[in-house]
């Protein structure tokens, strides 16, 4: 960690080291076994607040109640499943929860179509296995195995991308709280404090259905898209700015007005009605997530920086919008045209240039 400047992304517990320290120092409430701070402090860490003189930055912008449910779930030693569309801060929340509770967010399994059951339980160091036979030294522990031994929380990202049989390997772990090792006629039992936070994406394409047997073993929290347009704009602007810095884009951040237009269009199409609630709209087949908004803004900045004037114009925005909203489906084009005609055309001067650009692309 000595040359942190070159690391693309630093773990949560490192970034917010001081806040965690301050919370632990100021702790007054009882601390559950295996945790490093009380549930209430975890809540303060995630939702922001004040500890002594230190201002804790809010990590999750949204409904506090959902965070409370997450924390209360982990106190009851139940596993937690976070469900939501892309860009609703599932992974972000799970990372910060483990950072606050254990001070370690690195026990993570990335779910992919290629994830195997061994990666969930344990696998073997084959050189050692051949040399010494089955022994404790030749076992490669999975993050879940390690978490059970330490009484800590492990994370499973994108659980619905794993094949069903791999998902089901979790069932016995969650109900028995132990992993059998038949090769050594032994088993490892979880210490108090062990739990799992899984994240899943339901509306994406190319995911596997989760069995209800597995779902039953989780407390499920559905993370919604940002509740207010202000919150969403804040998220989009800060994240887009950070990405643009990371990629060293040579374009200026678009004006707040431009971001507002994008967020407004996305929100209206996502929710199927205009912001004032008077006109109902058809919805697109795509998800139109906050994550897509961010990448839309960053992409149009990259376009403007590399090929344009360095300033995001309506033309760039229009083609980016068209690309984001009209996916491969013909129906999307109809929805988009209906939106343009029924909503955007009537929005007045501010939108007229964008409307004309969008219209010309149809």
């Amino acid at each position: 960690m000595e040359n942190q400047k070159e690391i693309l992304r630093i773990a949560a517990e490192e970034t917010y080291k001081e806040e965690i320290r301050a919370l632990i120092d100021a702790e007054k409430d009882p601390i559950p076994t295996g945790w490093q701070m009380s549930p209430r402090s975890v809540l303060t860490y995630i939702c922001g607040g004040k500890v002594g003189n230190m201002q804790i930055t809010p990590k999750y912008i949204g409904d506090k109640r959902l965070v409370e449910i997450c924390i209360a779930t982990l106190v009851t030693d139940r596993a937690l499943l976070l469900i939501g569309e892309p860009g609703t801060a599932k992974s972000w929340l799970s990372e910060h929860l483990t950072a606050a509770i254990n001070g370690n967010s690195s026990r993570v399994i990335q779910g992919t179509a290629g994830t195997t059951e061994e990666q969930i339980r344990y696998s073997w160091n084959y050189a050692m296995l051949l040399a010494k036979g089955p022994s404790y030294e030749s076992i490669i522990k999975s993050p879940i195995y390690a978490a059970m031994e330490e009484g800590a929380i492990a994370r499973v990202e994108e659980i619905s991308r794993c094949a069903s049989e791999v998902q089901d390997a979790l069932i016995s772990i969650l109900s028995e709280k132990r992993i059998a090792i038949p090769e050594l006629s032994d088993e490892v039992a979880a210490k108090k404090g062990f739990s799992i936070i899984a994240t899943a994406n339901t509306r994406d394409k190319g995911v596997n259905e989760m069995s209800s047997a597995l779902k039953r073993r989780f407390n499920i929290v559905v993370l919604p898209a940002p509740a207010s347009i202000e919150a969403e704009m804040e998220i989009v602007q800060t994240r887009a700015k950070r990405l643009a810095n990371d990629f060293e884009l040579r374009a200026a951040m678009p004006e707040a007005k431009t971001v507002e237009k994008v967020v407004t269009i996305f929100r209206e199409l996502r929710e199927g009605k205009t912001l004032d609630g008077t006109v109902k709209l058809a919805q697109t087949s795509g998800v139109l997530s906050t994550a897509e908004e961010i990448s839309l803004i960053v992409n149009s900045m990259a376009l403007a920086g590399s090929f344009g004037s360095g300033k995001v114009t309506d033309a760039e925005l229009a083609s980016a919008l068209q690309g984001a909203i009209v996916k491969d489906d013909k129906k999307d084009a109809k929805v988009w045209e209906e939106y343009l005609e029924n909503v955007m055309r009537k929005r007045g001067k501010e939108y007229s240039a964008l409307y004309a650009e969008c219209r010309s692309l149809l």
Binding site: P39, R40, L43, R65, E68, I69, I71, A72, T73, V75, T76, R78, L81, I83, S212, K215, R216, N219, I220, V221, V222, G272, K273, T278, V279, K280, L281, A282, K334, E337, E338, E341, N342
Partner: protein, 773 residues
Amino acid sequence: MTKISYFGIRHLSPVCAYYLRELLRREEPELVLIEGPSDLNRLMDGLVSEEAQFPAAILAYTKEPPIETVLYPFAEFSPEYQAILWAKENGREARFFDLPSSVMLGYYRQVKENAEEESDAPTPENRSVYERIEEVTGVPHDAFWEYTFESCENGEELAKAMETYGASLREFSNRAKRDAESVHEALRESYMRRMIAEAVAEDPNRRIVVVTGAYHTSAVQMPCTQEDIKRTDEVLHGAQNLSDSNATLMPYSYYRLSEHSGYGAGAKAPFYYEILWRCRNALSGASGGDMAAAEYLTRIAAYQRARGNMASSAQVIEALRLAKELAVLNGGRVPALADLRSAAVTCIGEGYFSQIATAVAATEIGTKIGRMPDGTVCTSVQEDFIRQLKELKLEKYRSSERTQLELDLRENLRVKSQEAAFLDLNRSFFLHRLSVLGIGFCEQEKRRQDNATWAEKWSIQWTPEAEIRIVEASLKGDTIEEAAVEVLGEYLRQATNVKEAAAILARSLEAGLIVCVRDAIRAVQRSAAGKEAAQDVGNALGDLSMTLRFGNIRRMDLSEIQPLMEKLFLKFCLNLSGECICDESAAKEIMPVLGTVWDVSLIHDFLDWERLLKTYLQLAEDDRANPLLSGFACGALAERGDIAAEKLYALMERHLAKGMRASDGAYWFEGLAGRNRRALIARMGIWEHLAGYIRDLDEEEFKSVVICLRRTFSTFTAEEKLDIAENICELLGVSQTAGAAYVNAVLSQEESLEISGADNSGVSEVDDFDFDI
């Protein structure tokens, strides 16, 4: 010396009800004073009678329009009700001692008038007070109430806590209060002080318990001053006292009690509160919170199971654990309703509230409806009904004999007053409202000439059932109009597609309910967004057009319909081409809609005619579309010459070409002829092509085509057939009269025999059949 105990309550709170009873048992007062309308003590007996089932309400209302109402709802767990009940059980006296209902009515009328003048909607004061409490405690007010008060296990503790609560309510609301309201509150308190002083004067030696909302407790304890007496006297003899009013007990429902209907005193979850009340009594005073929590979650699970969803006991147990942790996290001992709901969503609803929404509604609000003893109910709706009968000169129809009534909705120009000129229109509104409510007093009869929107025919008959239904309607609103608005609102919420919403729009229009018309327009708009079938959209367009055209006979402002029609019209145009690729049966349903939309667009010039032309042209040229529909589009376009003749003939040739299926060609022609036949008959070219087409068919093809063609031409009138015959004669070079006679001649017996050929044997078999079985 009089001993007075004061007990501050929150309305509809089980914990207050329980400890109020305990206090009464301990103090054994001779008199209980209860916050409630002091002129309606006579209604107490009905309230505590054995036949009464809760929830119930006292309703006071003015007899003359505009009708003003004031409502005092009670549930079994209302502290006020428990106090009255205790008094009755122990033979003590109970009295209401708040301002008389007649004065309250006057106050609400003033508020309404002021609101109209200022035009800004008055914000409910309670809200800002509760928001301030939320700021201080950091917990939503309802949860705060449940954590702090509802889980209390000691009467004295509660009394102290209520004192503090009342004091902070006063403190917060003093800062936020609007003037008119604070004057009113002060007046109520003056009156209550005066009533206490009078009660003491009557008999200085008795013990009294005074029950008021916590907010008022500190104020009513102060001594009654001359100022109090002067001010209350002024009001009692002033204009605010609407003494021409009436009051009744009425059955109430938990649904109306819950905040959905806007009663702000905190009965968001009446059924859950009833559970709390039951549990606390079962545990004789210990907080029933844990027991109620278990019951709440079990009921949700049971509800889910009863409807075929999975909900195991294990899930209930997990939910209960989660709810308790949530309560601890927020500083409560026992889960509050909000915790229970979150836990149920997480553990039983798989994270989605929508999955358990109906279960939650059933468990929190419930469907309970009260009942009142016979003869005690005289609702404002009943009086409204009788008053309107009189006003509309319909009294003579209130007989058990069925009578007919014909209405002409147009303005009667021969009478002087405005009222008389629109008498029939107002009658129609009234009768339509009654049918919306399902009163069963009147029934509209279908007229033969259903396009005459200004005429209606009703048959009217009075039955005892109608009387009962009118009383039931009082659950929906305080006047016929209000109740009808509520009912149509319910229908609207249930309406799932454009068709239903448009139908409700029509009903609202008939019943003259402007509010509903607006809501319905909005509902049409909402439901128009989904993946609606083009034919539904088209039908709705037709309905809306009718509404717009004939709305002015009912004197309504319909400016909102126009943008809605534009929107639907666009939707129709965008989605039409896709839906026209369909089979024959679907095409038959769509065809009339194509005609409707065409007509509608011709009538209203705000609709984008060019776009429609483009859409129909596209449809006419689309080879994948059902031939019936593309033919119809051609016919429509040809009607006013919106399609060039060469183009029309080219399309005709294409559809009637050798390569196409012969029946498709005939269908296409059926579509073409489906609209304006005159326009077709006048075009010689069409007949030339048709003649050419038929000439080129071989025997087999002709047989399949002739069925369709015959069907097409069977709908033509004799006169039209004559004209066609003329055309054909001209083409074939035959004399016109001979041709015409041939076409219109009746088939000779040999010919019909030949045609029915094979069927004949079938017919003779049927002849032998014995039909008398």
